[in-house]
């Protein structure tokens, strides 16, 4: 009996994504996102996607290509001012957009990863983004109940993997990637390098391989 290898091609990885999927993509302003996975998905026929990410890159750049290519049904994220096509598409009724404060967004992704369905936060109390959300008072302060955000697939970017799938990151390219790795049914990591298991310092591994299903080696510079 052989156990499937986690390493696969970018094509094989993207073929695992279905139209209609909820897809998390690690990123922060065109930095720290899985470039080859995003390119391949943007070039694919998959559509009606819900993209869960901090932002949506820029028009025609990075994650922005999903919108330019009309592959998006809905967005869940927090900052789309870097890509004015998002507001335009929303105004046209072409896509649905759910804004979540960035810290809540990060925590909600982690929550999905660690089996917490809902949690209370102070961010947004009394604002338009709290409308319709339950509130509760703890120790004389009002908090909003926020729900976990989970996905079908997480496309993440790491720096180095070992063959098991343990991951380490690079500077601020870490961003949401370790959180998203935990929060999806299928996690695909694009990495710059794959080294033998045992060669990453066990004290420094950021994402244990339990959270990683597939590895794609980035080949373009």
């Amino acid at each position: 009996m052989t156990i499937d290898d986690k390493v696969c091609t970018v094509e094989a990885a993207v073929a695992m994504i279905q139209s209609g999927d909820r897809i998390m993509v690690g990123s922060f302003g065109n930095s720290g996102y899985p470039e080859e996975l995003v390119s391949a998905l943007a070039a694919s026929d998959q559509n009606e996607l819900t993209i869960i990410s901090n932002d949506l890159g820029s028009p025609g750049i990075g994650l922005g290509r999903f919108l330019t290519n009309r592959q998006i049904k809905a967005l869940i994220g927090n900052y789309y001012n870097w890509n004015p096509e998002v507001a335009a598409a929303k105004n046209d009724g072409a896509i649905k957009v759910t804004l979540v404060p960035q810290g809540t967004f990060a925590e909600a992704i982690r929550a999905a990863g660690v089996g917490i369905p809902a949690f209370y936060v102070p961010a947004g109390v009394g604002t338009a983004l709290a409308e319709g959300k339950p509130t509760a008072v703890f120790d004389n302060r009002t908090y909003i109940l926020e729900r976990a955000i989970q996905a079908d697939v997480a496309l993440i970017r790491a720096f180095r993997a070992d063959t098991l799938g343990n991951l380490v990151y690079y500077k601020t390219a870490r961003n949401f990637n370790p959180l998203m790795a935990m929060a999806a049914r299928l996690t695909i990591a694009e990495v710059d390098e794959i080294i033998p298991a045992g060669e990453l310092d066990p004290e420094c591994i950021v994402t244990p391989h339990i959270f990683v299903d597939k590895l794609v080696l980035k080949v373009k510079p």
């Binding site: 922060f28 302003g29 065109n30 930095s31 720290g32 901090n54 932002d55 927090n78 900052y79 789309y80 001012n81 870097w82 004015p84 998002v86 507001a87 929303k90 105004n91 957009v97 804004l99 979540v100 404060p101 960035q102 810290g103 809540t104 967004f105 990060a106 925590e107 992704i109 982690r110 936060v121 102070p122 961010a123 947004g124 109390v125 009394g126 604002t127 338009a128 983004l129 990151y169 690079y170 500077k171 601020t172 390219a173 870490r174 961003n175 949401f176 990637n177 370790p178 959180l179 950021v206």
Partner: protein, 226 residues
Amino acid sequence: MTILVPKAQVKIRIARRIAQEFMAQGRRMFINLGVGTPTLVANYITGNHIFLQAENGMLGVGPKAEGEAVDLKLINAGREPVTETAGCCYFDSATSFGMIRGGHIDATVIGAFEVDETGNLANWIIPNGRQLGVGGAMDLVAGARQVVVALPHTSSNGQPKLVRECTLPITGCHEADLVVTELAVFRFREGQMVLEELAPEIDLEGLRALTPARFTVDDHLKPMSV
């Protein structure tokens, strides 16, 4: 409309005054700076006891990177390439906002479209259909121990920004602690907006004319250092 402070000086004066606020505390501080004028605050901080946090996952953010030092995977939350400082570290966004929400960040400096006399502030959206983003603003104003609002006293066409009640969607309720404009410094004390410092270009009457927000005047009103 009369220009009291030359435009080029507005941001510098505000940033410098906010830096003084932190330096004067003489203690180790962890600070998050928003984009725009808040970022300039870093230019006026000296010593090695004030640490900058970037909510995209870094503590110990150094000066902007130039030339060879530019690394597009080492950026601040405004997407500007930055540098490392000794003892800096990286973490994911949940840990980053854990620092913020958990009250570990001593102060956040943010811009705003409006602040009102109850300390409500609006800085995330002008509902004109062209903007769609909140970023970390709501988390920052709710989580940081001190919320410092850096803004010009009036808009470029003279509209007041310190108002009785915010007209734009608010970012947080009664979260502002310190408001610094080029003309004045206000501190919220027990929910009350108090004028603490006044710039030399204006007198109290003149300030009131530019400030719909109702405020009291500190017994020890001081000239704002410019």
